[in-house]
Amino acid sequence: MSRRAPLLVTLVAFLLPLLWIEPRTYLTLTVAGLAMGMLIFLVASGLTLIFGLMDVLNFAHGALFSWGAYAGFTAAVLLNQRWGWAAAPSVAANVSLLVIALAAAAAVTVGLGILVERVIVRPVYGQHLFQILITLGATIVLEELIRIVWGPNDQVVPVPATFQGSWDIADIVVLKIPVLAIVLGAAVYAGMLGLLNRTRVGLIVRAGVENNEMVQVMGHNIYRYFTGVFAAGSALAGAGGLMWALFSQSVRPAMGGEQLIFAFIVVIIGGLGSVTGSLVGALLVGLSYNYVAFLVPKAAIGVTMGLMVLILLFRPAGLYGAAR
């Protein structure tokens, strides 16, 4: 199959539902699907580099997603209580709140990510079974810590006024938060491509994803690069968590676990170590989930698994995976 095949598959998945769904509903579902896809992409892109570069299975990635959501949520609540930045009808205040909440989510998860990498992951390089066990253990600890600090119940996230509601464009209802998620996801994707393709650090990371031993025998301290990738991946998970919290207008201690399953599926569909693969895979999952949830609600989760099975049948290394 050619390099264009993945795009073709995506296009078909994108247009096929038009046969059964009325166009206006289709567009609403598409926006929701793209937004969901972009949010999964934020989680999966970090995961794919972490897995691709050091062959590390990091199940704690979902817990970082939750921590990002709670950190951003806390920042938003505090800012809103003190100055009313979420409720205020001022775009400047609303945007500031969003930016500060995102920064808080990223900062907290970068710190946690470095801690997890140094303390939990470093002793078990190259040992998948131990990685699964210990990162699942870390997930439990991190999730329980959330319950201790913030309590076990769902909490409502204050969504800034500017981003509430929807635009009504030619009778098509377009929710604002999903559009924000799509814009953020696209910006992250562009930023990552730029970083990976135009900087020396990115070059070494790409080489390391392909053959990390070779990068080391060339004199590069791969562990330092890996800590950086782990921290950046954690920040993306955290940002994804906050966006998901705004999207669903709530936070829950276990919210990360559900996203992690999607993210792993996306990483496998897209091909280990490929950022573009993660994006295409995430959009495929997000769109097909929304279309199928509308047509046959009970089959929604199953279609994601079916998609993975189908793709692996034809491309065992995933859509953009280099066979290793």
Partner: protein, 234 residues
């Protein structure tokens, strides 16, 4: 004259397997030393132990008199040891130019001069510099792999089976290139192709069952038919 690299009674395990059971080498500066031996004798494991990819349980590796056997691979490389692994280890999804850029540790006048010299030896690297390295032929991949190790001011080059799987005409070209390169660097070579080994090497070590069993001047081995038959089946 002191030795550039000294491997002293090294024992290396891979998992439970005791692969190296006493390998000792003394590598003279500015010479080409070839490691000979049958498949599975421990030649590649010796190279990987020197490079720090594997760590010996017993014995010592010294570079310039300094013990290096506990260092991680990147620290060994930074001492000025270049490694061309068996099977080339090129980054297939990166372009030829990017492969060389990853390999260049510090962009200096010297590294640029070395790059110019290596491109002169392997003009294909310049012609295909924007091609993905995975699309190169076997010989071109090997040239790229050697070039990557050569661009840094290395004092010691470890080259593992460069002729493996290459057509005879390509091997000839490789021999010429390596002959030119040996003027700039000490070389340790693992080579199954005896003709190539004897064309390049000044000294040899014979490794058998994880032990060094013989050493000497390459010219002496070429004349010693009994020894060649016993350990190399020639």
């Amino acid at each position: 004259m002191t030795d550039l690299l000294e491997v002293e009674d090294v024992h290396t395990y891979i998992g439970q397997h005791h692969i190296l059971q006493g390998v000792s080498l003394r590598i003279r500066p500015d010479a080409v030393t070839v490691l000979l031996g049958r498949n599975g004798a421990g030649k590649t494991t010796t190279m990987r132990t020197i490079m720090g990819v594997l760590h010996p349980r017993r014995g010592a590796v010294r570079f310039d008199g300094r013990p290096i056997h506990a260092l991680p691979p990147f620290a060994v490389a930074r001492l000025g040891i270049g490694y061309v692994p068996e099977g080339q280890g090129i980054f297939a999804t990166l372009t030829v130019e990017e492969n060389l850029r990853v390999a260049t540790l510090a962009d200096s006048a010297e590294s640029r001069e070395r790059l110019r010299r290596i491109v002169e030896l392997f003009p294909d690297l310049d012609r295909f510099r924007h091609a993905r390295a995975g699309t190169l032929s076997g010989g071109q991949k090997q040239m790229l792999s050697i070039a990557r190790a050569f661009v840094n001011p290395t004092r010691l080059l470890l080259i593992d089976e460069p002729s493996k799987g290459l057509a005879p005409i390509v091997v000839e070209h490789l021999v010429e290139a390596l002959r030119a390169m040996k003027r700039h660097s000490t070389v340790v070579l693992v080579e199954q192709n005896f003709a190539m080994a004897s064309a390049l090497a000044d000294e040899y070590y014979l490794i058998d069952d994880g032990r060094t069993v013989h050493a000497g001047a390459m010219a002496a081995l070429v004349a010693d038919h009994a020894l060649k038959r016993k350990y190399l089946g020639l």
